[in-house]
Symmetry: D2
Subunit: 366 residues, 4 copies
Amino acid sequence: MAGNTFGQLFRISTFGESHGIAIGVILDGCPAGLPIDLDFIQSELDKRKPGQSKITTQRKESDTVQILSGTFEGKSTGTPIAMLIPNEDQRSKDYGHNVDVYRPSHADYVYDAKYGIRDHRGGGRSSARETAARVAAGAVAKLLLKHHGIDIFAHVTAVGKINAPNLESGNIAELLALREANIVRCADPATANEMIEFIDGVRKDGDTVGGKVSCVIKGCPAGLGEPVFDKLHADLGKAMLSINAVHGFEYGSGFEGTELRGSEHNDSPIPNPSAKGQSFLTITNHAGGILGGISNGMDITFKVGFKPVATIMHNQQTINAAGEASEIKGKGRHDPCVVPRAVVIVEAMAALVLADHLLRNKSSKL
Amino acid sequence: MAGNTFGQLFRISTFGESHGIAIGVILDGCPAGLPIDLDFIQSELDKRKPGQSKITTQRKESDTVQILSGTFEGKSTGTPIAMLIPNEDQRSKDYGHNVDVYRPSHADYVYDAKYGIRDHRGGGRSSARETAARVAAGAVAKLLLKHHGIDIFAHVTAVGKINAPNLESGNIAELLALREANIVRCADPATANEMIEFIDGVRKDGDTVGGKVSCVIKGCPAGLGEPVFDKLHADLGKAMLSINAVHGFEYGSGFEGTELRGSEHNDSPIPNPSAKGQSFLTITNHAGGILGGISNGMDITFKVGFKPVATIMHNQQTINAAGEASEIKGKGRHDPCVVPRAVVIVEAMAALVLADHLLRNKSSKL
Amino acid sequence: MAGNTFGQLFRISTFGESHGIAIGVILDGCPAGLPIDLDFIQSELDKRKPGQSKITTQRKESDTVQILSGTFEGKSTGTPIAMLIPNEDQRSKDYGHNVDVYRPSHADYVYDAKYGIRDHRGGGRSSARETAARVAAGAVAKLLLKHHGIDIFAHVTAVGKINAPNLESGNIAELLALREANIVRCADPATANEMIEFIDGVRKDGDTVGGKVSCVIKGCPAGLGEPVFDKLHADLGKAMLSINAVHGFEYGSGFEGTELRGSEHNDSPIPNPSAKGQSFLTITNHAGGILGGISNGMDITFKVGFKPVATIMHNQQTINAAGEASEIKGKGRHDPCVVPRAVVIVEAMAALVLADHLLRNKSSKL
Amino acid sequence: MAGNTFGQLFRISTFGESHGIAIGVILDGCPAGLPIDLDFIQSELDKRKPGQSKITTQRKESDTVQILSGTFEGKSTGTPIAMLIPNEDQRSKDYGHNVDVYRPSHADYVYDAKYGIRDHRGGGRSSARETAARVAAGAVAKLLLKHHGIDIFAHVTAVGKINAPNLESGNIAELLALREANIVRCADPATANEMIEFIDGVRKDGDTVGGKVSCVIKGCPAGLGEPVFDKLHADLGKAMLSINAVHGFEYGSGFEGTELRGSEHNDSPIPNPSAKGQSFLTITNHAGGILGGISNGMDITFKVGFKPVATIMHNQQTINAAGEASEIKGKGRHDPCVVPRAVVIVEAMAALVLADHLLRNKSSKL
């Protein structure tokens, strides 16, 4: 119940601190017989790793993943797949300043309050470094989904007040190519340039900025999700909200949809001209592919909001462990904006949720 | 894994269909010795029950709750508390029209796809009637929280495009009195009147409209929530997204916060003039009382967005179970806007999450 | 975590006290489309119900079960099946004697120690009355198993030092007829008579006696059970040990097998003359149908030991709640020997374990 | 649900195959602030490791454990403790013989049936090598229990038909010294010699033999265990039955107790002369320290039966993967009798169960 496990049938447990020996994950419940493509897993990690561009943190980690168990002759065996990612570039001495001083909007204080002890080096367990383990496991989930014809695509659709157009109706392979062609991971090239320039300016100010990531899932069959508490969008929401810095989640019509009337919001089903691919077709998709918590076969769409990174290169007022007024200046190596690296984390968590519900749905009927 | 259970240590399992014999809940894990105030539980159900005003559904249910187990001489015994709410006013014949026709933006189609069988009467398990069971259990959670000095308050802050001012810094008893003084459950009287008038017009149009509910939790000690997947706001988000019609969740600065810079968004801690009550004090509260997934002792704030109810009194295009074009006209008794009745559901789910994490936190340290 | 739930995918949660309003169960995870035969469920409860013969307790309960949810037109819908069994013959006044005095070998003291409060009437939650809820849910599990060709049979194989011959290789329908032809539920008529006479004598002495129940499961396919912690026999063991009064569990060769050499104990596989029915065939079956925690397709066999009932009609030394020496005399209505009524509880728990692993195994491979 | 996780609040997840790169464990839920004595953990592993005497397998593994996360400056931090044990002496070529042939009484066949793929090297995941990970985690559980005054002691009480006297009333430190003074780990020196001589003879015959391990837990407070499904002895039983080769579990009076009358079996409580240490005192302890599934403060006692190891150095009849008759000769390096090495596994699993229930009990009352 200490909450380092996610998923029911396709289940991951992660471990590791920012400046410890390694981080890693056990993936339990992957069906046997799935080809495990290590290169693909590594390529996913490469999209999240630090130091990949001028607009990400300069911490250098190769994030080389090693599979310790659960595969045999290149395939999953049904036993736990453990994966290890050693930490290489820990500059723990950079963090001497936060031993006794609570960094504003960081988790330092609450760890002390909760545990009475705190690994202050790089934020310890509260660091987003933990998400590398999720990306590794999420890559295996993607392989399972791809085997079942399900594809996931996310990209950056907002940085600060700069918004990208909605592209979710496009072809995933093309969107992916467009996205990976720029360092901010927005599939619209013009907006991407604007975003990059803005982030670079923010970085030079020693400041940070928030943003949004949008995600679309294509090829999901109808029937995934459980009807009451474990609604598909509720599990997606929890997954996204568990990512560091996320402050909001909406799916389908989202918060905007709350302003509409039912007569505007309802999606009218129409006869499906082709039984292939989709078994359900509606004119609009305000439902975001989910009705009553269960996928309906249409595209699943959702959006995730990330607050600005808390570490800035400015002097800030704060308190120390004794509760006295103190001052702190940003140190360490951090991102001016997390969304470019968060794209693959969003996809990984979505993949984990879908894979889990794919397995859970096997017991729905006789 | 069929997902009718919520919570880990303070755990509920609900059952029942809209037009079955009864709905109910087992609450397992309530600590022994808690006085169980049946009148309070009933009063919470009364706030959710149908037929309470002109802007709610006209279905008549007394929603009288009976406790079947788990209490002795007025106190919890540590064994499961089962509660039963009989269904009284099932007009199942009203639902003959959706046996073979899929209502737009309802779960009819996905239940058929998932289960191959569907209790079509009133939406069966997909009906929001299930939430009465949550409110009953949530009332017990509130009693436990109150014992620990934690209070929860939610109210309607938007109906369509009508927005209420932010009142979360106020006194909960006063806000509650203001909220319960009007039928839309908005604590700002002027906005409440505007909302009521608007909903009544929408109802006369045979239409529906969405809205938002905002919630604040006061008196929560620092340390609740688990740091990785079971972050306090991730569990709150899942809880809210599991409520019928919810399409979005945000906490603290929410989606608006994603547009800010770190230097604007960071909450600076300041020395706490009074050790009483709060152990942590920040000038602003963009964090919404939660850092790194763990409560910091400040007010916890979040907002929930509800789409418009799908049942409208208009003719709508749809398909039947054979996949052919069909037409459907709204029947049955439904709400023109769910938020007035959803307020107590939001509070109940929040209470369940907090109670669970209160118990989970007991094992954080030696 | 209060432990009133059993199973993962086919999951039950029970509630209710011996002398409360009702006991009951929510069964979550039953696949949709299963015909739910209420008469069969009731007939299973009738085998467990009190007052059925001179060698069982004289408490009179019809144990009439009502299904509250989860079925539609006679079939399961995939939503939770709630079942309720009202308590009818509570003579709570019989239990005034144990309000402040701890009955020897009963749970009175530990409930006070654990909870600080105790529903003393009839033992409250610690009463074996709770097992009626298990039998109701187990009956549904049996229906699911029967649909998949799996049959379960248990009978009494020991009362005190009287032992029955091993009959597990027989035909289940015939064994069942033999078992139900006598009130002690032993399929060997001669031993049954001896057991009945013995129990009746013990009863007249105001005393009680223990016994054993043996169980065989036929038609189970290979592959059920998970290889490490959730071995099929480990889950069967936990299920049996969770039944009131059980002090021991063994499967296959059991404790006797520990005295053998490997060369005697190993079961040699032989070519299977008929592919029908069984895919694996060994000359002996010391494995009890389970290898490495996973069913191998042979008969699954295990044995359960029940201690004598603690309530006797003798004067006994004990202590009171103040820790002082006290005396207690047996009152209330109790069984001189539980095994005749426990047979169907053993079968129910075995059915729940098998049904759970049947569903879990659906995710083993692609 | 693939079952590689054990425990609820104090929870382990293990991974790794016999001849893979490493085995390991994530321990989640250890309270923060516990001193983690790595030397103690290693010393526990040394008691389980292969090659330690002439009566154990000759596979050579140092079983050196490395802690990857979850500790800081020698103490637990409340985050997951990951431990890694590299495999060093994998002679996978020894296992070429079981690629296509099913070894009698091994799990080869069922893995193929369940997963359709099998890591045949050394039995893969079905090997008892996995238990090293349990011992590492169990050592941490022991440290937590010792902090709360709870001690666990197990020793070998039967090898084949050679039985040791009951010593459980003794002092644990003295029993431990006696046990560790001989290679069979029986605390009675005379019986130990007899057992060693017998096992050595069995080994020379190329054969194997089963045995029993008895365990006593001292200092456990009253109140641990949950009253219905998660009875303390039910969880102990499952834990023991999940250990490789275990075929039986009994606690307190066990199977022998089933032959007694209630008047013989009941344990009469007596006033406790000293409030110190034990809060409950009975003349006899047929209950094995557990009433109604909850610890009563007396010594907790149980016994575990291990079947003989399946690998023998004899020619054996079997079948191959095509279902045809085949012959196999034992190869590989195996134990003639597992109980000497199993003693510390039994203790580890008992410690994990107790630690889990210690944390769970924190929520029993207000």
